[in-house]
């Protein structure tokens, strides 16, 4: 005799994006790749537009030296890139690493890692602190190598 069993409770499944589908992360990876190609092959430093904040106040703005950092890093001049703008060099390295890793993820069919909401807040606070620390460095050190 087979005893009646209670129906199994509905399973709670977390939403997971499809593994190999191209989506929003891939667009950001493409933007990062585009920034690398521009920094590597387009002579953006020849434009030489002066920063208005720097011209008026004599002090660099928070993003001063960002273009130089991208270009120097794209040409493999790591130390010089960090001297121009440390956060800009880190940002460029992170963006290009993200593009490469996302390409690997798509090819390998892996799922995109989900960042927990609590850790996202922590990263945001770290980012804001790094932004102001980088600006303070630019004020104290001055622009350029």
């Amino acid at each position: 005799m087979i005893a009646d069993r209670e129906p199994a409770p509905p399973s709670v499944e977390r939403f997971r994006p499809p593994r190999t589908r191209l989506g929003v992360p891939e667009v950001y990876a493409a933007v990062a790749l585009l920034s690398f190609l521009v920094a590597r092959f387009v002579p953006v430093l020849d434009l030489d537009y002066p920063c208005v904040f720097l011209t008026l106040t004599g002090h660099p703005c928070a993003t001063c030296g960002m273009t130089h950092a991208f270009v120097r890093l794209a040409h493999g001049q790591v130390a010089e890139a960090f001297r121009w703008n440390p956060l800009g060099a880190l940002f460029a390295a992170a963006a290009w690493a993200f593009a490469a890793l996302d390409l690997v993820r798509v090819v390998a069919g892996l799922s995109f890692p989900v960042v927990p909401r609590e850790k996202l807040g922590l990263w945001l606070r770290v980012g804001v602190a790094a932004f102001f620390a980088n600006w303070a460095y630019l004020w104290l050190h001055g622009l350029g190598p």
Partner: protein, 305 residues
């Protein structure tokens, strides 16, 4: 018991049925009691139940009046696709302009109900509108700029130094080749603008604790609000009006789509925008100073003749 918000899909624990507020996104929701008696079904003809998710966006309001029992309080309105997401059924141009009108003129109602999971349609809408607007603006700029750049070039002959170089670069930037490049690359710039802008907005929303429904919702608002860049095609004032109008839509739309306060969305939109506006104003003053100096030299040259 464990409950799930129909709006943000976040789960939370509660000890009672009925009306309550989601702790994640702040939206009001009704948790139905399974032991409560079922409501009586009204007689046929006395009234018909509304379609799930409410009437489609852009549809005329249902007729009111008539003799019928009062309906139960309506459920929280569900999400419906934008007209542009249904362009295969509605027709491309009619759905495009219907979406443009809803997103630009009625952002509160539109973004409170539009589906946020149809990103391809939203981004396509924003890119197309931006592309058309910037292409027409580039052509107008080329036609109009060719006339007065000749006079500016004459003035540049008397100006030594950096200001002359700035004007020389401006002349190159307004040439035919540069205009063609701008038209061809406009969709790429539009995609970058929408995605990078959405990323910055969402970061600031998270800083203000306002991005409850996730990045897709922010990207949807950013993409549909970029439709106002179609106004860039209007000579002279279009390029000035469009960014201001988009900022207004973003403030209203982000508050509606994330169910957060208008103050949070205004902070997320205006703080980065103020930084950009300050830099743009300073750059504008610098450019205006260079042009004024050039015109001064031109007048001096004319009076010396």
């Amino acid at each position: 018991m464990l409950a799930r918000c129909a709006r943000c899909q976040g789960t939370f624990t509660t000890d009672h049925y009925g009306r309550q507020r989601c702790p994640h996104c702040g939206s009001d929701l009704v948790l139905a009691d399974p032991n409560a008696p079922q409501p009586t079904v009204p007689a046929e003809g006395a009234g018909s139940a509304p379609p799930e998710g409410g009437p489609p966006l852009g549809a005329p309001p249902p007729p009111s009046g008539g003799w019928a029992p009062l309906p139960p309080p309506p459920p929280a309105p569900g999400e419906v696709p934008s007209p542009f997401a249904e362009r295969a059924r509605r027709g491309f141009f009619s759905s495009f302009f219907e979406t443009w009108k809803l997103a630009s003129v009625e952002p509160q109602a539109f973004f409170a109900r539009v589906r946020t999971d149809q990103l391809a349609s939203a981004v396509l809408f924003g890119v197309l509108a931006s592309w058309v607007g910037s292409a027409v603006a580039a052509l107008f700029g080329w036609l109009g700029g060719a006339a007065w750049m000749g006079a500016v070039r004459q003035a540049m002959q008397g100006i030594p130094g950096e200001r002359s170089q700035i004007l020389e670069r401006l002349a190159v930037a307004m040439g035919g080749g540069a205009t063609l490049i701008r038209v061809v690359l406009a969709p790429v710039f539009a995609v970058v603008f929408i995605f990078v802008g959405a990323g910055i907005l969402h970061l600031f929303l998270l800083l203000f604790r306002g991005g409850a429904r996730g990045f897709h919702a922010t990207l949807t608002v950013m993409a549909y609000s970029s439709g106002v860049y179609l106004l860039s095609a209007v000579p002279v004032c279009g390029g000035v009006v469009a960014p201001i109008w988009q900022a207004v839509i973003l403030v209203i739309g982000l508050a509606a789509v994330h169910r957060c306060s208008m103050g949070k969305s205004a902070g997320a939109v205006l703080v980065p925008l103020l930084l950009c506006v300050c830099c743009a104003c300073l750059a504008g003053f610098a450019l205006a100073g260079a042009i004024a100096t050039a015109l001064g030299h031109l007048q001096g040259g004319v009076s010396n003749l």
